[in-house]
Amino acid sequence: MDSPTHDMMDVLVQALLDGDRSLSVSEIKRLLAAGVAIRQILSEGVEVAMAQLDAKCTIEQFNLLEIMLCGRAVMGIMKELYPPDMPVPHTKATVVVATLEGDVHDLGKNILKMVLTASSYRVIDCGKDCPVERLVDTAEREVPLVVGISGLLTTVMPQVRRVRQQLAERGLGHIKVVAGGAALKQATAENLHVDYIAQNAFDALHYLDDIMGGGQ
């Protein structure tokens, strides 16, 4: 990468970290006009910004606002790079996410969706207040690497415990189940009958990356 392009990429990374959507989009346009490939923008711009944000967000210091703003900027440039008639390519794997029936607090799920999308996963969102059956139907259709469940309320725990069993009954026992969110992260994976409890969205991302690398 030549120096002017390198400088523009640095500006893009900082704009994403600052959550500055309009500057991020204008930098994308400059990079494209300079002949930089989309793949390079993603790997040297978006993924670098996400890695830096990841490093900042420890379990002790994690706030949604900063991630939301970065995520919004990422989504803004994704729209610029891939207009509605062009599917967003994914280089890693598919993940199905949901907030289960009885819980409508879906901010955590939306954050996870943004972090995974910006990290080159294809995310299928089953929405909030989602019955287990619909989640499992979607998993059967999409055959994801992981099903991710976010929950703020303890009352959804009995439903969370049903997910892996229902996947297994349809021959989908190989799909990993990850849970997170204020209520669910108080529990253990064993207690919830899931494969992993993510402490935050980046923790979930690390788990997925480990699976991709054959680490789990």
């Binding site: 706030n63 949604l64 606002l65 703003l69 303890t154 009352t155 725990m157 204020a182 108080q186």
Partner: protein, 337 residues
């Protein structure tokens, strides 16, 4: 000492006859009385009856005139969905559907939505317990109400994109909290607790809290104190340690700490502020009475020399909690050591 005297002594760092226990039993009171949660949150008289039943059953030190976090936003025009055995949730946010903030009035608690039912509950509870047990009302903190009027994602984006408009929204939300809280005091509550989960550092950075939330909370608590509120009590969920230093400035006198806050650290940060907490809420559903007793005992020992401590959960005790677990927490305060 009766419960009110016990809590008052603790708040002023005097030695009570035993450590008070203020179990955050809200919807669980309906479960205990075999009443549908959907009915409990719409009927102030029923709520009061269930709270008194739970007080008599457990023998703890406070009752709550508190329905759910949607009371204020519903009174302002948001639409809620009710279900039999869940808390209601917002179906459509009042400010997300084209309504302008300038078109809204601060709701009259005697008429708007379920606010009159809360006032009825506070009044009945006060008649029942008099000056024996604290009657605790509840208002949403300005930050939390703002997120309940607009949806949390929209509200946070507004804060960044149009901070002046967001500040205006927070000022309005503070007025709602003040008017509703004062009405609760007038109806008989000894205090309104301020619920402010959206101000948690899990959601917003401490600098954002200092700039946006703190000035409005300060105003709300000053108004409550001036009106004779027994104590300024705040609940902020999650890892609140980074914002604890702001509490004295806000006028907080009693701080509920969640399980993810280290009690020792909280004591160091707030040496002159009474603390309550911080048993993990899920433990009341999943753990055993012996585990709850052990955790209670651990907390009582941590605070034994300092005082200024009320045993409680770190957040709401879930409706589906096991009664034996709540009873174990209460019993722990009667069996010191």
């Amino acid at each position: 000492m009766n419960s009110l005297e016990r809590v008052a002594a603790t708040l002023s760092f005097r030695t009570p006859d035993r450590v008070p226990v203020m179990a955050q039993v809200f919807g669980h009171a309906a479960t205990l009385a075999e009443v549908k949660l959907g009915d409990y949150v719409r009927d102030g008289a029923l709520l009061a009856r269930c709270q008194i039943h739970a007080l008599e059953y457990y023998g703890y030190d406070a009752v709550f005139a508190l329905m759910d976090v949607g009371v204020e936003t519903e009174a302002l025009g948001s639409t809620l969905t009710y279900r039999d055995n869940q808390y209601p949730f917002v179906q459509s946010y009042v400010l997300a559907g084209g309504v302008n903030l300038d078109d809204l009035d601060v709701p009259d608690p005697r008429r708007a939505g379920r606010m009159p039912e809360i006032l009825k509950a506070a009044s009945i509870l006060r008649q029942e317990v008099g000056q024996d047990v604290p009657v605790v009302g509840c208002v949403m903190g300005p930050m939390t109400l703002a997120t309940q009027m607009l949806g949390i994602e929209r509200a946070l984006y507004l804060a960044i994109d149009q901070p002046e408009r967001f500040a205006h929204l927070l000022d309005f939300a503070a007025e709602v909290a003040i008017r509703f809280g004062l009405a609760q005091l007038e109806a008989g509550a000894h205090l309104p607790i301020v619920f402010d989960p959206s101000s948690s550092p899990d959601v917003i950075p401490p600098a954002f809290y200092r700039e946006f939330a703190l000035p409005r909370l300060t105003r709300v608590f000053a108004a409550f104190k001036q009106a004779g509120s027994m104590v300024n009590w705040i609940h902020t969920a999650g890892m609140a340690a980074p914002i604890l230093p702001f509490y004295p400035q806000a006028g907080v006198e009693l701080a509920n700490i969640d399980f993810s806050v280290d009690p020792q650290q909280a004591m160091q940060t707030l040496p002159h502020t009474c603390l309550d907490g911080n048993i993990k809420t899920l433990a009341f559903v999943e753990a055993t009475p012996a585990e709850i007793a052990a955790e209670s005992s651990r907390l009582l020992k941590i605070f034994a020399s300092r005082g200024g401590f009320i045993l409680s959960s770190g957040c709401e005790i879930p409706p589906e909690s096991k009664p034996d677990n709540i009873a174990a927490m209460v019993l722990a305060t009667r069996q010191p050591g």
